[in-house]
Symmetry: C2
Subunit: 402 residues, 2 copies
Amino acid sequence: MKKGNVLYGQSGGPTTVINSSALGVILESKRHSDKIGKVFIMKNGILGAINDSLIEVDNTDELKLEKLKHTSGAFFGSVRYKLKNSTESEIDYLAILKTLKKHNIKYFFLNGGNDSMDTCNKISQYLESVHYQCAVIGIPKTIDNDLVGIDHCPGYGSSAKFIANLMIELDLDNSSYPNGKVFIVEIMGRNTGWLTAASKLASVVDHGPDLIYVPEVKFSEKKFLKAVSEIYTKQRKVLIAVSEGIDYSSSCQTNSAVKDPFGHRALGGVGHSLASIVSSELNLETKVIQLGSAQRSVARISSRIDTKEAELLGNEAVRQAIKGTTDKMVTIVRTSNIPYSVKLGLENLSEVANKEKKLPREMISKQGNDITPAFITYAMPLIQGECQNIYKNGLLNIYSKK
Amino acid sequence: MKKGNVLYGQSGGPTTVINSSALGVILESKRHSDKIGKVFIMKNGILGAINDSLIEVDNTDELKLEKLKHTSGAFFGSVRYKLKNSTESEIDYLAILKTLKKHNIKYFFLNGGNDSMDTCNKISQYLESVHYQCAVIGIPKTIDNDLVGIDHCPGYGSSAKFIANLMIELDLDNSSYPNGKVFIVEIMGRNTGWLTAASKLASVVDHGPDLIYVPEVKFSEKKFLKAVSEIYTKQRKVLIAVSEGIDYSSSCQTNSAVKDPFGHRALGGVGHSLASIVSSELNLETKVIQLGSAQRSVARISSRIDTKEAELLGNEAVRQAIKGTTDKMVTIVRTSNIPYSVKLGLENLSEVANKEKKLPREMISKQGNDITPAFITYAMPLIQGECQNIYKNGLLNIYSKK
């Protein structure tokens, strides 16, 4: 392949390590100056490609770039935008093609979840159909950990680590009084319980939740109230981890009618709904912890393993692209649990696009309100290690465009 | 004073550094074996003294005790229990006196906020009235930072640091999309806005909230909606920090009728109430982050200054007690902002008991929806430094009774 430029974009919800993947792409691209000229980044994901709104990475200050590792958010701008099939409407594809040609893009990377892999797949197919030679590679990320074809998703380990440790802290807090409360922690997860399951890791140091509810299991209000009542009677405190996406709602939930461009319902509020029935039916004091975006943005306590893997996948995407690989997502394949080891792999974008990996049944207890040791074995390696030198004067030392 | 034993207790809401003060008392007591015999800890604060439920600290493993520095909660048990005046009912006082005599307690320490200083003051007065010789010293702590007679309260700096950095992370998260949302972060604070004001520290790195509402200022729904609308129109994202205690409520708030033994209303829910009107009146998408107890329990990101000062106050309480000081609270007096320096002091318990230090008007903007640079100067030194070696295998390496 002739020398060309790189175009990288971020897509979907941020994770604490998505900018580490960006760093991986940038640094690896610089290592292949024989094949790669410039590195461009789409402003707001695919929208940047459609609108020819690109950022050229001219910063060669690696120390400054390293700060991307503890900079939250999708630093270069993300978007939730669903590409129509090109047979239905070619307009966006023509705009993207124009941008690619204009900037001599030969390597195209989109960093996102299952919706983004769909976008990536469609672009790859389209470029092939119009015979525009460009490697198209998906770089996975999602705190939801719900991508198929990969052992675990970059971003998941850090959010899991935040949640696991928060459970320890909240249980210690709730243990402070002779009579504790019913703590209800609402955790992100639309259709899958991976993130909520992470709360179980706190049980390794005896501070795990008493009850865990995930979207994979049908929620029963009656069983829930019975369990809460029994546990409270026994130990005068209850810690509950619940996915925002369980099938339970009440009038207190905000925005439940709002849908995003992919048709997903905006969630949030189930914690308050549950608190409301615990309060009214059991007459127990409740406390709701609704972490919201904190779960995907607390970069300062990222897992080092997660940060490193995110960067490695960025590196690998570039290496694969210059080898001629296209229409693939770079993946992580676990080769051993103890000691933890992985190798990098590839999966067809079409196999990943729009699919969702649920929490396997064997990781959920028979009664459906707890998580099993099989999950702990799977997830513990992902929360190992801490990042260093992330503060300056007590505040996050983040990357800035200035 | 003859050789006697120490009795220490934790009281009121936990902070991330209250156990550092416990450590300070334990370690300093060991240094004065000529004056001090054993160290006892009341289980669940004053209740432990009333019920003669004490824990004897026989652990001499200092490395293990050091873990108290990153162990959340009031590890030895706290309580919210209001002592009646001894003239009204002597029963609790007689029980406490019996416990003190039984265990030869000559040094009594209660670690808490303004309610606890009231308890401490009453006990001190009572013991004097019955001629039982015992030094009674209050050790301050509260994330609310609302004690009078002290520059700032141990526990505040760590919670402030958590909140300030979370604002940076949330603003980065909300900046990820072309159209952001209205993020509403509900922060603890019953009557004072100290903790909510800490959100402003994020402005030092240009990621502070757009609007900050504290209980010291009357809340106007009309002005609020106008401000949100204007800011959103301009920058397509809004970050709001709001104290749980502002005078605004709606049907979605849980437990608002429940009061604690001091007559304080249980709070929580104002974030959802505000989200609800933003959604209905302005038709903007909202996201509520309700941190709840996370704010006072995220020990892993404590400020080192705060942890150190909490321990020092524990040390100082013991030193003062063996010098014969009684009926006082140990305090922090700031001697310089830049470089930050403090000295330790004393305040009469009666001056601290039941009083509340509000956020001064000069730290709140004229319009009442922002915080001024005067606050930043005051608070920045309190969030400096990080604690080390707090994890083991990715999970908090906490102190445990085992």
